[in-house]
């Protein structure tokens, strides 16, 4: 538990997150318009999205299915009856004058996720609820000197609002929670989790208290758009609150904005200015009724999720929980790893993926999906080591050559003559030459057998690293001990 050291003692941070996750679906929540990111303004707008007179919403079954999948992935209760409500407020990018959301009866109830903390321990964060709602459009204030333009492409896009319980106590925990949520949704294919494109956005509720005391007054920091900023926003906001309380002031419940450039949070509106949203059930939509069979069918079709996959890596592959956690965090990484490990030494595969491969990707600044070395190619490299074609040392060089040329490892071995020498005659000749040239070392070896390694090194050097180390060992021992 991370404490803030104040002038007057320690303070505990209490955090709850509201995550808005854009549902992966072809069409919007209540209309058939497309949802692709980056389209020209107002090109993905139906009559419903623009709130033309007489238009009516019709629920998109795909979005419902995605919400249920996500709920199941969060180990949460699926509510077989949920209700869409209208949240009424006026804004230029809210064409209907209300947002269709779920207020009292959300589609998903309480759940829980496990989070992986930097020290290797596991934490738990409760899920309060998940509900479906429409996104608003976008106001463009920088297109005209006096007027605001409105882009309705996003208007009506389906969002899942996932509300956590106030279970987190540090920026690390909040970051781990967000990373886990994103990982689960990517595994499920329900949200792409791209915070920079706005398909996952986060509101952070921050309060501070003396350890064990009652909850303090919270402030909500709106629309933080990266995990890094979430950490920073929590740190500056918690510190701000501690300073106010220690200075004899009190915290006003309010909505604040995080300004990453200035490293501060700013008041957006106070509780007194809070909207009265006049929620009421949307009379254009019937209550959403799901059957237990429908939910069971979705449950049966769920993929293996990160926690289960991690457990499998530990159990079946003998990986450490930490390594397993790193490999499963991103679905793409886990799939890459499994393609490499399939039918091979899994530990060795893990070492290569987390070692040379991650280092190379980092250096290039690309994700695993853009890796210049495909999983099949890395697998072939491992095969070449396993069947003795190349030595481990040569394998490192081969890896670099593969990165540079993109060529098949076997072809590169052939082309560059990297094949390991296992011809005992050739190796014996080299050993004889080394022994003959170093009588002093041979004498020293008799007294100190650990000098064996020096001889191995000399032989390997003479063969350009291509001699099979095991054969070298066997023959060298025979020659020296003879």
């Amino acid at each position: 538990m991370a404490m803030i050291k104040g002038e007057t003692g320690d303070w505990e941070i209490v955090l709850g997150l509201e995550v808005h996750a854009q549902v992966v679906s072809e069409a919007k929540l209540f209309s058939g318009a497309a949802t692709a990111f980056g389209a020209d303004p107002n090109t993905q707008v139906s009559l419903v999205d623009a709130a033309m007179p007489g238009m009516l919403p019709v629920i998109n079954a795909r979005c419902v299915e995605q919400a249920v999948r996500t709920g199941l992935g969060l180990n949460a209760k699926i509510n077989l009856r949920s209700v869409f409500d209208r949240k009424n407020y006026f804004y230029a990018d809210l064409p209907q004058g209300y947002q269709i959301s779920q207020y009292k009866d959300p589609i998903v109830g309480e759940g829980e996720v496990e989070i992986d903390l930097p020290d290797g321990s596991i934490g738990r964060v409760g899920i309060e609820r998940l509900h479906l709602e429409q996104d608003a459009g976008k106001s463009l204030h920088d297109q005209h000197p006096t007027q605001t333009y409105v882009d309705l492409n996003r208007s009506g896009v389906a969002l899942m609002e996932i509300v956590s319980k106030p279970d987190m106590r540090s920026p690390d925990e909040a970051a781990a929670y967000l990373a886990k949520l994103r990982s689960i949704m990517r595994y499920l294919g329900t949200c792409d989790g791209n915070m920079d494109e706005g398909s996952m956005r986060c509101d952070v509720n921050v309060s501070v208290r003396r350890p064990g005391a009652q909850l303090g007054t919270r402030c909500e920091i709106k629309n933080v758009n990266s995990i890094r900023f979430v950490r920073q926003a929590i740190e500056v906001e918690a510190r701000r609150q501690v300073e106010i309380i220690e200075g004899g002031g009190k915290i006003d419940q309010e909505t604040r904005l995080f300004d990453p450039a200035r490293g501060e949070t700013r008041s957006l509106r106070s509780k007194e200015d809070a909207h009265d949203y006049r929620y009421f059930p949307d009379p254009d939509l019937l209550p959403l009724i799901l059957t237990p069979e429908y939910v069971a069918k979705i449950r049966a079709g769920l993929p293996e999720l990160p926690d289960a996959r991690k457990a499998r890596y530990v159990e079946r592959f003998g990986l450490s929980p930490y390594d397993a956690g790193v490999l499963v965090a991103e679905k793409d990484t886990a799939e890459f790893f499994e393609a490499v490990a399939n039918g091979r030494d899994a530990k060795q595969a893990a070492n290569w993926v987390m070692g040379d491969l991650f280092a190379m990707l980092n250096r290039r600044g690309v994700g695993i999906a853009q890796s210049p070395i495909a999983a099949t190619a890395l697998g072939k490299l491992l095969d070449l080591i396993a069947d003795g074609t190349i030595s481990g040392r040569i394998a490192k060089d081969l890896f670099v050559a593969m990165e540079e040329t993109g060529k098949d490892p076997a072809a590169l071995v052939e082309e560059r003559g990297l094949k390991q020498v296992t011809d005992t005659g050739a190796i014996e000749a080299t050993i004889k030459a080394v022994i003959d040239a170093n009588p002093g070392q041979v004498a020293a070896y008799k007294a100190k057998p650990t000098l064996f390694g020096w001889f191995v090194g000399q032989v390997m050097k003479s063969t350009g690293g291509k001699a099979n180390p095991k054969v070298v060992n066997d023959l060298l021992r025979k020659a020296l001990d003879a």
Partner: protein, 490 residues
């Protein structure tokens, strides 16, 4: 053959089928009558060019042997239905200049059946009113007048234009929408038939919304049979409206043509005997019961104990929904925009100038009853009352097949009357609102004249989605009442 404008939908169809008249001739005759009676102010937009174009296309279809159910029949369309390429105003300044790029499902169904658009009819602004006096385009005049008087009377509302044009024989049929009585009450005031179908029978897609949980499109005509013909074409499940019922459409026309009323139990709700109802209407109601009995039906006394709470509950639910539904008229995307120094001021200017007094009143009431701290006391309570009203009907229909009540507590009143006190105006819908709150079908049938020679209507209410029984009973009542009176001069 009598004048084409005197013919019913069924008669016009027969005339065109036997090539005694072409759709174009029918359209021209009705266009001429439309021009002759412009003084009624019943149309917000006349569409004679569109009518002739559609009539020619209709004649071509008929020549190819592809005649639909309403082939060549000219209709008036309440200006709450969005019509592609034809301005749609909802009777409001806020939508002036708005031309939809889409066609409402109900009107699309009518055009598919061969009907011809004559024009968009006048209405209370956003369908909020019982007199047609709240229209931005001025009130509609009822073709009927008190005997020996020249005072202009209201046609009722909100679908006043649609009722007046049928009564004045400008068209043989029209569409309306009914939220709390907006089809049935004007039908009674204008001496014609008006039917509010079961909520969910006709699609609301493309109909400008007033109160989504109550709004329901329906037809006006001069006979029960014609009403059934229109309903037949208008109805059907629409996947674009989530509240549209996924049910097959029964043969309404057959039900209207062959009234099977023998042994039918007619419920008479004792709670509908309320003070303030004109004695003539009470007498007509009793006469209606007797007529139904003579026709072979069996009257039974039933009780709908929560009736008196229906009107107050309605005036919470309907404004609540309207306050939200009308939020989209904000000057940002279409219709009126009155500039301001910032966004908030633009909203205020636009909505202040765009909405009339009655609409503003209901938006304020609706905003109030949904506000934090008031929601439970008003909106939630009203929804609970609504559930009790629906239960009343369910229990009553265990003892009877249809209910017979007056449609409105008075005959048509003079333009300008009841305008000072909104509650007096609201009371006009006291007999129609309960069925609306329960989502049930209701039909008003002209059943007699009062001492001033004004038409009076009786209302039949049916079980949900049982319009066939309702139309059968209505046809029997129509036959027994033998209402043939016409507004003088029309």
């Amino acid at each position: 053959m009598s004048a084409l404008t005197d013919l019913s939908v069924a008669e016009l169809s027969a005339a065109m089928a036997s090539r005694k008249a072409s759709a174009l001739e029918v359209a021209d005759a009705h266009i001429a009558r439309m021009e002759q009676h412009r003084g009624l102010n019943a149309f917000i937009a006349e569409t004679p060019d569109r009518a002739r174009e559609m009539a020619r296309a209709s004649d071509a279809r008929r020549a190819r042997g592809e005649a639909g159910l309403l082939e060549g029949v000219p209709l008036g369309i309440k200006d709450l239905f969005c019509t592609e390429g034809v301005a749609t105003t909802a009777g409001s300044h806020v939508l002036e200049g708005f031309v939809p790029t889409y066609e409402s499902t109900v009107t699309a169904n009518l055009w598919k059946a061969g009907a011809v658009l004559m024009g968009k009819t006048n209405l209370d602004e956003f369908a909020m009113g019982s007199s047609n006096m709240t229209s931005h385009f001025g009130g509609v005049e009822n073709p009927w007048k008190r005997r020996g008087e020249n005072r202009k009377l209201v046609p009722g509302g909100s679908s006043g234009g649609s009722a007046a044009v049928v009564a004045a024989r400008i068209v043989p049929g029209s569409t309306g929408t009914d939220t709390g009585g907006s089809i049935r009450q004007p039908a009674a005031f204008c001496g014609i038939v008006g039917l509010k179908p079961t909520y969910g029978r006709c699609s609301r897609w493309g109909v400008v919304a007033f109160a989504s949980s109550l709004d329901q499109p329906g037809p006006f005509a001069r006979s029960v049979e014609d009403t059934a013909l229109l309903l037949q074409a208008m109805s059907g499940h629409d996947p674009k409206d989530s509240t549209s019922a996924p049910l097959a459409v029964p043969d309404f026309v057959a039900a209207a043509r062959n009234p099977a009323i023998k042994g039918l139990k007619i419920g008479i709700p004792c709670e509908y005997r309320v003070d303030g109802t004109s004695p003539e209407i009470v007498a007509l109601w009793e006469k209606g019961v007797a007529m139904m009995r003579d026709a072979g039906a069996e009257p039974v006394e039933v009780s709908l104990p929560h009736t008196r709470y229906a009107l107050p509950a309605y005036y919470i639910v309907a404004p609540a929904e309207c306050s939200s539904n009308l939020a989209r008229y904000d000057g940002v995307r279409y219709g009126l925009r009155v500039p301001g120094k910032d966004l908030t001021e633009m909203y205020s200017n636009t909505r202040g100038a765009g909405f009339g007094k009655e609409v503003r009143r209901r938006i304020l009431i609706g905003t109030y009853v949904l506000s934090a701290g008031y929601y439970d006391a008003y909106y939630r309570k009203a929804q609970q009352v609504r559930a009790l009203i629906a239960r009343d009907f369910t229990q009553a229909f265990e003892r009877c097949d249809v209910l017979l009540t007056p449609t409105a507590p008075t005959a048509a009143f003079a333009a300008g009357d009841k305008m000072d006190d909104p509650v007096t105006m609201y009371l006009n819908d006291m007999f129609t609102i309960p069925a609306s709150m329960a989502g049930l079908p209701g039909i008003s049938v002209p059943a007699g004249l009062d001492k001033d020679g004004l038409p009076l209507g009786l209302q039949l209410i049916g079980r949900a989605f049982d319009e066939t029984t309702l139309l059968g009973a209505a046809a029997a009542l129509e036959r027994a009442a033998g209402f043939t009176a016409r507004a003088e001069g029309y």
